[in-house]
């Protein structure tokens, strides 16, 4: 997956987790928590969905990389570069 495809995938996951939110205006450089109503259980949903959809494992000590869209995509790029978007 390219960084753009990874971003698209995260948006897709966020649409499931936060169906009431408008994600079109998401600022990639700002923390998710500053823009969306996300709590720790929601972040675990992101981790869980990446595991279920792509078998990507994210160790607990690396959760901090999921703070914003930019940091998430940067963090996931090496883990998802060989995954083909379907």
């Amino acid at each position: 997956m390219t960084p753009a495809e990874i971003r698209e995938e995260i948006i897709d996951i966020l649409e499931d987790i936060s169906p009431d939110e408008d994600l079109d205006s998401l600022d990639d450089s700002q923390a998710f928590r500053d823009q969306l109503e996300l709590d720790s259980m929601d972040f675990l949903d992101i981790v869980m969905e990446l595991r279920k959809r792509h078998r990507v494992q994210i160790p607990e000590e690396e959760y901090g990389n999921l703070a914003s869209m930019s940091s998430t995509v940067t963090y996931l790029e090496p883990k998802m570069k060989d995954i083909v978007k379907t």
Binding site: D16, I17, S18, P19, D20, E37, M41, M48, K52
Partner: protein, 419 residues
């Protein structure tokens, strides 16, 4: 023997009244539309598909889940939670109470449930099956969804209620048990307003269908609307339904002080136990439960105007309840006897509360809705006063007695009086 607790002899601070009703049933999403469906003999039973089990019949609700919840709350919670949130908000709205200025720390939530957690556990097992049973794919939402207090706790979260909340596990006697618990807590001063009744999400677990089927107790019929047929000679089992019905209960003194419209008063109740079988009911204990409720209300059996039966459409369950009723009401001239499951199926934890609500409207319209689908009355179910297939108008309706019984021999009866 507990001393009779005659409502009329109690001070207003100990008398418990109903001031609001919120409900969703397979044939109505508010008290009035539910009543209309019963008077129009409109069933809510439909063809239904459930995972693994396949095609069956069920009572399915179509209330607006996002009227009081965000989509995210619906996703995160349970169906029972959504049923509870909808019915609790509707009940409070119906009560006319100034909710914004109500002290939420003095509100208690008491929700009867037949079971809780089966739906969510089945869902997770289904999910991890797709991952070769890798438990790391088991949702972190599973525990908050399956804790036994979930259906009540979601109401508390949604409405900002900080008083006590919990569920009352009471099999299919749970709807009455929730009401009784709410009344007891008001009398004890544990809360000033109780949201009480029962909910069910049971149609979303295949297990309940499969288990009733294995017990030869799941209803089948070419016409879904005729599948639930208590008292009929051709009845062949239960139609499982979902639903919920929560009441706003208050002390009479508080209701009077705020000028509330009073729907009815809890004048008597009783709960007891068969202690004889896992499944088969015991008509002697059921009759004792009815008599205890009458005794506590200070009423004679012949003063009851409507007996709302529990009968579920099983061969032995219906005839056993009728045996119990014959013991208590066999010599009476006044009581009319009906059954609401014939319209909606068996709403499990919500059944008792919903069936009561369907009959409370009779305080106003004086009409007894009939048991439908009785083409040929089973002689084992003959009791004087059965209202079958056509509504019956009475001169007055002062007392409704509501039966609700469940597995492991749990029996509950409430009697509501017109105020």
């Amino acid at each position: 023997m507990i001393a009779p607790n005659r409502a009329s002899e109690l001070p207003d601070e100990q008398r418990i009244v109903i001031t609001g009703i919120g409900l969703t049933a397979p044939n109505g999403n508010d008290w009035q539309s539910f009543r209309n469906a019963l008077l129009e003999k409109r069933s809510g039973v439909k063809p239904y598909e459930v995972r693994y089990f396949g095609s069956t019949l069920a009572g399915v609700c179509d209330f607006d889940t996002t009227r009081y919840q965000k989509k995210k709350e619906v996703r995160r919670g349970t169906r029972a939670g959504s049923v509870g949130v909808y019915t609790a908000n509707e009940a409070i709205k119906h009560s006319g109470i100034d909710w914004q200025n109500t002290d939420k720390s003095r509100v208690g939530i008491y929700v009867g449930v037949t079971e809780h957690g089966n739906v969510e556990t089945e869902n997770e097992i289904y999910v991890i099956k797709g991952f070769d049973y890798d438990t790391s794919c088991w949702s972190h939402h599973h525990n908050p969804r399956t804790v036994a207090n979930n259906p009540a706790g979601e109401i508390a979260l949604n409405m900002g209620i900080t008083g006590p909340h919990y569920t009352i596990g009471a099999a299919c006697a749970a709807g009455n048990a929730g009401i009784i618990q709410g009344a007891q807590m008001l009398r004890l001063g544990e809360c000033d307003l109780a949201i009480a009744g029962g909910t069910s999400e049971s149609i979303h677990t295949f297990g309940i269908f499969a288990s009733f089927n294995s017990q030869n107790a799941l209803a089948r019929h070419d016409d879904p609307t005729q599948a639930s047929r208590p008292f009929d000679v051709d009845r062949n089992g239960i139609v499982v339904a979902e639903g919920g019905c929560l009441y706003v209960l208050e002390r009479l003194s508080d209701a009077k002080a705020r000028g509330a419209e009073i729907i009815g008063e809890l004048v008597g109740y009783a709960m007891n136990t068969d202690a004889t079988d896992f499944v088969l009911p015991n008509p002697e204990r059921q009759a004792e439960c009815v008599k205890m409720a009458l005794d506590r209300a200070g009423l004679e059996a012949d003063q009851i105007d409507i007996v709302s039966t529990h009968a579920t459409g099983t061969s032995s369950g219906d005839s056993q309840e009728c045996r119990a009723l014959r013991t208590v009401f066999g010599e009476c001239k006044n009581p009319r006897i009906n059954n609401t499951k014939s319209y909606i199926g068996h709403a499990m934890g919500a059944a008792g509360a919903l069936e009561l609500a369907g009959n409370l409207s009779a305080f106003g319209d004086r009409v007894v809705h009939p048991t439908i689908n009785v083409d040929q009355l089973d002689p084992d179910c003959e009791i004087p006063g059965l209202v079958l297939n056509e509504p019956q108008e009475l001169k007055r309706v002062d007392y409704v007695l509501n039966n609700s019984f469940g597995m492991l021999g749990i029996n509950s009866v409430v009697i509501i009086g017109r105020v």
